[in-house]
Symmetry: D2
Subunit: 162 residues, 4 copies
């Protein structure tokens, strides 16, 4: 079984046509798994719905607590891209043994249709979580990065090895 | 480097509005990699553009020949879903040593927009080709199957372990 | 009140991923009116779901009968493009008095997403049916054509004045 | 000939994936006309690219000046929805004789794909500008409103008669 934890981020943002602002409604994960015709045994649970710039270490401890609490060894986390690396680092130091944790997200909301990278990222993250050895990883741009070997290039929006 | 071979299939079908028929134009792969913001070192080459029901063993030998000919050890093949398993079996017996070959496709053309599974499948196949040991695999429905352990359920369109 | 009669055509075709064929399921009209945030008083009724090449004069008499039967003076008909002109001609000779009848359709199914012209055509047809004097018209390509002044160019798929 | 003046608004907003903000790039009008398979004689000119809350009466005088300057009697203006009524009122008092001016927009950016009302609104506005008598109108929600008989309901986002 694969556990998916939803934490928010651009991946799940929607457009509020009354205010003209981006906001969080429900996660798009169930619809995406359906459209991807996914037959994996997956459990989806929303832990929070926040912009990753607003994510605190208390939130990260909440995520870590949930990672420790589930029996499965395969965990996928959807997350805003801005602090993905910080959360990966936090989880790597959170005493979670023998689990493969893959963090992914999107640069363009899934709800924005044919320009979003989210559906592609979800496909790759689900594959990585099934095949990578235990550890904490970031999956973006078709690649995976170990938690201590990745940074987001803030001017281009691409993830790079460090 | 990852070599992608395009062979056609539903993945790349388009709608001809004059005739009302589905047909092949150019592959959507380059656009899809772009949209996925993919930064992998990828080479895309179209070997053929055919419905997989029309694929002959001569075509399969052509694919095998190209798999043997490239230096890279990571090969992704886009392919119609109807004979995916047959091509996987053919390649498994084609004396291709030490390479990870992942065959993927789509049940709904990428060009048909928000209902297509193609973009998700491409993401997962790219991840599997980077992480699975040498061998021939089919990647569909978020899963990977070894060449000798997969069949397409013709009434549901889902792939199953055998 | 505007009466919409659905008769099928490319407008409402869907892709069957098991057979790879186009087919008719339910009409997309209600969803399209919703997405268009349409606040007109509209009644949608499906009369038939057929490819317009298969439409017989008995089917056309059925359409005419329904046009005569409704009280409203504004009628929009969604229809396959191949015999749109023939149906317009039939309705013009069907003794329907004092009503504005606008026939529209699509060259690419609405279900095929961001390439379809259907949503645009629906918007223009709804506007034409509110503003044109009684008569029978075809609305395609942003234009309206009187029933006796239009033909479909079969090689380009565009409608032209004759 | 139909003159289209682009002034910005939600209609043409795009998502900047680096900053996470909405912004204006080029207008989507040419692509939309293409997708709508529009064969009308249309001229598109961008006058400004602004959020309509930022539109000043000097901007409105600029729009009026351009409306007076073109020879055609059919003018369509794309515009943000928040001050559409104010601009309609301004143009009605701007001494523009014998022209049909239709102002339209969108509640959800066209670039956001399958949820946007923009493509439908464009279709209806193009039809209204061809068929309504001289005057200034707002076209939204499938309807047209005279400049002095419309208001936007700020809590629902729908336009209403007054």
């Amino acid at each position: 079984m694969i556990q998916i934890f939803v934490t928010g981020g651009t991946f799940d943002k929607e457009y509020n046509f009354v205010t003209g602002q981006l906001y969080f409604h429900d996660s798009n994960l169930p619809e995406m798994l359906d459209r991807g015709r996914c037959t994996l045994d997956v459990n989806v649970r929303t832990l929070m719905m926040v912009d990753s710039l607003d994510l605190t270490d208390m939130d990260r401890e909440n995520i870590a607590h949930n990672c420790r609490g589930v029996e499965t060894k395969q965990i996928l986390i959807t997350h805003g891209t801005d602090t993905m690396q910080r959360t990966a680092e936090f989880l790597a130091g959170a005493d979670i043994k023998g689990k493969t944790i893959v963090i992914t997200g999107a640069m363009i909301p899934y709800a924005f249709g044919s320009s979003s990278d989210g559906f592609f990222n979800l496909g790759s993250a689900l594959a990585f979580v099934q095949t990578l050895p235990p550890g904490v990883y970031v999956a973006m741009n078709g690649r995976y990065f170990p938690w201590d070997g990745v940074q987001k290039n803030l001017s281009t929006g691409y993830f790079e090895s460090v």
